[in-house]
Symmetry: D2
């Protein structure tokens, strides 16, 4: 293993987000991956469980080693909070990829996740780690709640329009996701023969990422957001594309140059963000495969005076592990783009 | 070739809709496929161009033979009208799979298709062949305009809600289609390496199926429909899934049992329609692969008082060739389901 | 349910072969599907477990009903024999889709399947149900061992060459299969994100279909067959393509017209077989999707004097359920093609 | 653009190999991409043609700029030689990704490519750039013929066995390739709806990579190689997997520990090669997606005394652009792995 200055641990490296963290951190010039854990695979060499990491000489262990500077947790909800809180109390910085510290209100957490939060006192401290919108807070944080993959795409798509008061709060987000978002755990809905050559909506009665999107959009909006969010599974491995719809506010709709004006506002909004690109054509998930970019395309539907914003990203990178490394970079004073420079793998 | 009573011709058999017609009509007990045409492939045996039809001894010709009773045209727009009109004048019944006779207003046709209509006098006569909604008119028609694949899914999803005044006209239809909808003509957007492991929105400034959906929904609605319609290409061959969103009218929204009431209205609406099923779970395109069914699932988003309707079908069957045969059956007095009984090929 | 003369049962309808049997038998004019069983799904309506069969009013039960004429068993090996033998003793005809009655020697069965055969006395009686090669015996049988999916493609590819003494026994069969061949049971190797955009060889130390292929080829050959058989998993749902390689015998190799001569022998060999087509171009699995055909293409590699035969089929139809219905038709005196006429679903 | 010491040009950047070169060279610390050409796209910004390269400010031009140190040509055969020869005469180093300098004999070139070679005198000088087997010659070369994608997988799989005299020359290579190997040019065989859910053999009468494989294996072998090479197209974008079969020589076959002995010979053979890994389980193309590795797995089929070697790689990286950069690194005195360190993108 290479030696860097920052000793990091990864809890639950055996999921897709976990092993994606290893891929990205592998050549980070300031990082040493000092410890990776996994329950079922404890004791096995990392390169045996994940042959694409074959040349790393490192075992998966049941528990983290001592003296880590920062830990990424890729555990399921509740278990993640239970693992992270002792680390925080030892002074270790934490980037939590689970949902455990994203929602500010413990009762909303309970309602959507069906369990009580292990320690709601951390909900206020935790910084919602959509870096572009919370850069300063992330830099100062010791606990970052890494956003969900869907919320990353939806919030980045809508933030400029809401912050600038372009749209009403009657928002519909229709998202399409590849299957890796469902993780490595086996289920009939991720069984190849069931998913291939198929598309379906799921979680029709309310996906758990809905309150997260609502919460973040509400903080930017003058009026409460009235959000419908519907998720679809499509036959590909990586990628999320979200199509967002909202009525333009009347003053914007009356502007004959609304489309160009909005586009310029978006360009300005993300002018200093290396990982968000406002595109000049509808973006495709393939243009983000394996990299940390979110592509955003706003367009006015002039027949109906609605704003449409299409956004896409790689759910395992900008939607999970890449975002987490971006947050780590800020938390530790490294350049924000460090180790995240790779271009998308096309085609 | 088998001998049936009805002699049919297929114009442009070399596209996907054309050869799908052959697949479906092959064992129709009342039909003889008497003539199939194709420009580039004229002179070649049908079974050489399409090996899956290998055991049919039939050549593709440049022109139709004489003495046909009914002709399906699968030509592109404009060329299709030009081919169909002389047939109509000879007394041949026509099911046109192109867009040429779907729109009632010649100026709307010109606006969306960029050409003048060859003979607008036929626009009034033509029956819009979404059989479930126009059964009697189809039965009496000599010219049926077969609906577009997207409109079939959207209109069947929304018709019960609009007819019963459940929703306002502020409608968003977000559709996801397999690639065969783009036909057999080569293009970069249907090149395997570009489409696979990818999703994108396209025709963002207005898909040609938009005016068709608006026209048909308007005829059912008390107030004009304000429709946003966005299409997406996903990496599968067959299938369309449409997710439709609209605000519930206030009286419906106040009903605590709105969801169940709406579901029952949908069940009643399609009670006599063999090919439309109101499902009790979100439907999947795989459940329609190769057959003539449209699956419809209405559900209330009680957080926002919106109706969501999800529908799906096989774009080449219920969205094209199967629908055309269903129309032919009615036009010729055969049982509506004849030769369309096959179950979906799952998985 | 429709009423036919023959009452059939399906054991373990909840696997892919089981529900494919229902799809094919659904409109068989002589068959009534009288009973379908499944362990985990017992008590559920068939159309709830398999929505593509939605309009069938039938429950899955734990046990078969009485008074069946013929039963298909789609159970795993050993369990299948244990279920079939009592039926045979009651005078019910059986088509067993498992491997339990395919191998003639009990010790070979034990060696490859790791269990003792429940009753080896049936091994001699059982007819290997590759209909084209055993038509008369199948017609007289009360117990048919339905062939494995891989063996069906390999044996039909090689039978004419071996029967005519064209090749030596030094045979290599390299097969590529879609994922549905691995069934509906969940595993990491059938998890979408692991299989998609991937190809791998598996069972490299010997696939269980190897002794079955060897046994059948040996019965046709003057000299023992020396077979290497390697299986590969590719990212599609249905279909097997086998590429078979063998040295031409010297007298054949010296014939300057060997390729055309061999092709004619193949055409003659399968002249009376509706479901085996000798193609004039390399076949594609897509040309068999959903139907009961096996496509066979022999060609001489004149640089090396080897025969190459490429064959393909749909592993769930000609490789499982369709083959089983073909056998049932013969066993019961129905036309061999009954209910198997459907064309492939292309594209 | 970043500034490096070596100014490189890429001819025909608009194909998949061309834009993959940009992806890999983008962050190469010693390279400046100084010029990229393309015929149809000349005058367009590179980032407009390939949005995944969006943040590069660079136009595609019709011709190369002056003062380049090294040029990669990704033109089709013949055109590539015609473009490369003048560059060589100006003292520019060349890595040619086309087939134009791979074959040593001009008559074999003419036979397989159907054209006369523009200047056969370069055939002797050109170094066949399978770096692991020709490291010293590549380091000294001014003209490197980058290997074909299939030959890279086949030759690396078989080289240790042939060099060590383990096998006879009766070799069969059965290769499965993703569709990107067919390039960006449109054709019916790369049209999504034709390729998806399909597998087929192609170039059955002899793929153009056959003479290249034979030539290279012959140089290592005591006796001439008698090679059958068959290629298959499978529904994925990137990746080649080759399954190679050959009889073990008698003395090897008699060794009861042949399998382990061969495995050790392979490990030793590639001990110093960072990009070739001898795996301890059958490799999967997904384990190489986007990186420059070739995975090799030798195993003895003890029933038949044949050696099976399975190898895989990413056809656009180790099979094209990555291999080309590896060669450039050697030709220019850079570390062989520079800019090729990225891990595979899994899943």
């Amino acid at each position: 293993m290479k030696a860097g200055n920052l000793k990091v641990g990864i809890i639950n490296v055996t999921g897709y987000a976990g092993c994606e963290l290893v891929r990205i951190l592998r050549h980070h010039p300031e990082v040493e991956i000092a410890s990776v854990t996994g329950r079922s695979a404890a004791g096995q060499p990392l390169g045996q469980v994940f042959p694409h990491l074959d040349n790393m000489e490192m075992d998966i262990t049941a528990d983290l080693c001592d003296e880590l500077d920062l830990v990424f947790s890729a555990l399921p909800h509740k278990a993640s909070a239970e693992a992270c809180i002792p680390l925080l109390e030892q002074g270790v910085k934490v980037v939590d990829i689970s949902a455990d510290f994203r929602l500010k209100q413990a009762d909303v957490y309970s309602q959507w996740y069906g369990v009580d939060h292990p320690d709601p006192t951390y909900l206020e401290e935790a910084v919602y780690g959509l870096t572009e919108l919370n850069r300063d807070a992330v830099a100062d944080a010791r606990l970052v709640a890494n956003p969900g993959c869907y919320p990353s795409s939806a919030i980045l798509a809508l933030a400029p329009a809401i912050r600038h008061g372009l749209i009403s709060g009657d928002i519909i987000v229709d998202s399409k996701s590849g299957v890796s978002g469902a993780g490595r755990t086996l289920s009939m809905t991720t069984h190849f023969s069931e998913v291939n050559e198929n598309v379906m909506a799921y979680s029709v009665n309310g996906h758990r990422h809905l309150p997260e999107i609502s919460q973040e959009l509400d903080t930017m909006s003058d009026s409460p957001v009235n959000l419908t969010f519907l998720t679809h599974l499509i036959p590909m491995t990586r990628g999320i594309l979200s199509s967002c719809y909202a009525p333009l506010n009347p003053d914007v709709a009356q502007d004959p140059d609304a489309s160009e004006r909005i586009r310029q506002l978006y360009l300005d909004f993300y002018a200093d963000d290396a990982f968000v690109q406002v595109t000049n054509a509808p973006p495709q998930t393939k243009q983000t495969l394996g990299n940390n970019h979110c592509l955003v395309y706003p367009v006015v539907d002039s027949r109906t005076n609605r704003l449409i914003v299409i956004s896409c990203l790689d759910n395992l990178v900008k939607g999970a592990a890449g975002q987490a490394v971006q947050n780590m970079n800020l938390m530790c004073g490294f350049p924000e783009e460090m180790s995240l420079e790779a271009l998308a793998v096309y085609p």
